[in-house]
């Protein structure tokens, strides 16, 4: 049993979730502000990558990032960044693919917060940023945990995009989802079950830990 794919998967999912937390939450906050037509359109656009089958999304990404085509070539020559057949590419693709699962629920949560919370903070001389960090974020913790868990799980199971732009290179882009898929394709059901079980067990433990932690944080005040 080769544990490298599982390690790679967890690494990919962790990095993707971390980056999405950093990018997604501020964007969600911004979107939750006074809604303009531009914001609404942007929000709808963020949902669009979902509509394409992952492998087709992967195909379009492949076109965009192929080192021999315009944009991919430019990236390669100027930033020395290769987004096909590389781990960085997987991270990038996963971010695009999971973006809406981070942004949308968090945005809704922000928009459900009463506006006097932020106002109270502003009158205390706090900037928008301080207000965001100390007042708004902590009060939508449950939604953020949920969004992070969905993103994490979704990235672990992602497969079509990864298969297309990753190239299944052992130790670099051969993540667990592909290893399981391979095992199923070769009808090595034993290996498939083993991989699936391990992935399940690890993820289940992580998700459970997050939820229990969340429960503790939002405890019933009369207990």
């Amino acid at each position: 049993m080769d544990f490298e794919p599982i390690y790679l998967s967890l690494k990919l999912a962790l990095i993707t979730t971390a980056i999405l937390l950093v990018i997604g939450i501020p964007v969600a906050y911004w979107l939750s502000g006074k809604s303009t037509m531009a914001k609404i359109i942007l929000e709808a656009l963020i949902t669009m990558p979902l509509v394409l089958p992952p492998s087709v999304l992967g195909f379009y990404l492949l076109l965009a990032f192929s080192p021999n085509n315009g944009f991919g070539k430019w990236l390669h020559e100027h930033l020395n960044l290769q987004l096909v057949f590389s781990f960085e590419g997987l991270v990038f693709a996963s971010i695009i693919y999971s973006l809406p699962f981070m942004i949308s629920p968090v945005k809704s949560a922000f928009s459900h917060l009463p506006e006097t919370l932020a106002q109270a903070s502003y009158t205390m001389g706090k900037t928008r940023w301080q207000t965001f960090i100390y007042v708004l974020l902590p009060n939508i913790k449950a939604s953020i945990y949920t969004a992070a868990v969905l993103t994490f799980a979704h990235t672990l199971g992602e497969f079509g995009v990864v298969l297309m732009i990753g190239g299944n290179i052992p130790g670099v882009t051969k993540v667990a989802s592909i290893a399981i898929y391979d095992a199923v394709e070769t009808m090595d059901y034993h290996a498939a079950n083993q991989y699936a079980l391990i992935l399940f067990a690890i993820t289940f433990a992580i998700v459970l830990a997050v939820f229990i932690f969340n429960k503790k944080a939002v405890k019933n005040p009369f207990e």
Partner: protein, 235 residues
């Protein structure tokens, strides 16, 4: 319902031509369900409503037959031919030397575990003792179609694929290719099987198509689509 033929991805171009010819001759309409051989096999084992299965190898049809999912013993309908090709500046005539020498970019092969063409490519690389030299350049595709996609989009410089790729590629001008010496890899015998499911109403049509596969006109189409013809065994 029309006749349903499950087809390995490498033969998707071939099947279109066969379907057209078959319909012209018999008036029987059919539809092709294209996929990786392994996936199609799993589906058939679990009740997929397919009448005929054209695999990329012989193992999968044999497995189906062993599970009594086939009505007749599988037969070989074509021998695959492996090529190396790419949108490259290099001349591929003497490709083993090219790979040995100059610095090449990424090379796509189908997953040797799941796709017969991948296995063949691996054998060829071993035959020319290139395996270690190029191993860091290799990327693995799910199936032969994905190799083709990589070649098309120039995500890779070279790829090992089926000769029939050349017959579906519309713009061949930028494409360089060379046949891989059949000596260097084991035969890619592609097997077909008439499935038990056909008994649910399409038995006559399915049998006709199964027989048609060995007809002269079918064989002509097969050999013009990038395949060799199987040596007909007397039984």
């Amino acid at each position: 319902q029309v006749l349903r033929i499950a087809v390995a991805a490498n033969a998707q171009q071939l099947i279109k031509r066969l379907q057209k010819d078959f319909e012209r001759k018999t008036g029987i309409k059919s539809e092709a369900i294209v996929g990786a051989s392994g996936k199609l096999t799993t589906q058939i084992m679990n009740g997929a409503p397919y009448d005929i299965f054209l695999s990329a190898d012989t193992e999968f049809p044999e497995q189906l037959y062993a599970k009594q999912l086939g009505l007749l013993k599988p037969k070989i309908y074509a021998l695959g031919s492996l090529i190396i090709c790419g949108k490259t500046n290099h001349d591929l005539k003497n490709w083993p030397k090219l790979l040995l020498g100059s610095k090449t970019g990424r090379i796509a092969v189908a997953n040797p575990k799941t796709a017969p063409y991948g296995k063949a490519a691996k054998e060829a690389l071993e035959y020319y003792q290139l395996k270690d030299k190029v191993s860091s350049n290799l990327v693995y595709a799910e199936n032969i179609s994905q190799v083709n996609t990589y070649i098309q989009t120039r995500a890779v410089e070279l790829g090992f694929t089926t000769e029939s790729f050349l017959y579906e590629h519309s713009d061949k001008s930028k494409l360089k290719w060379a046949r891989v010496d059949p000596e260097s890899y084991g035969k890619i015998e592609q097997g077909a099987i008439l499935l038990t499911y056909a008994k649910k109403g399409k038995l006559k049509e399915a049998t006709k198509f199964f027989d048609y596969l060995s007809s002269a006109s079918a064989q002509q189409i097969i050999s013009k689509s990038g395949y060799h013809l199987p040596v007909v065994k007397k039984s």
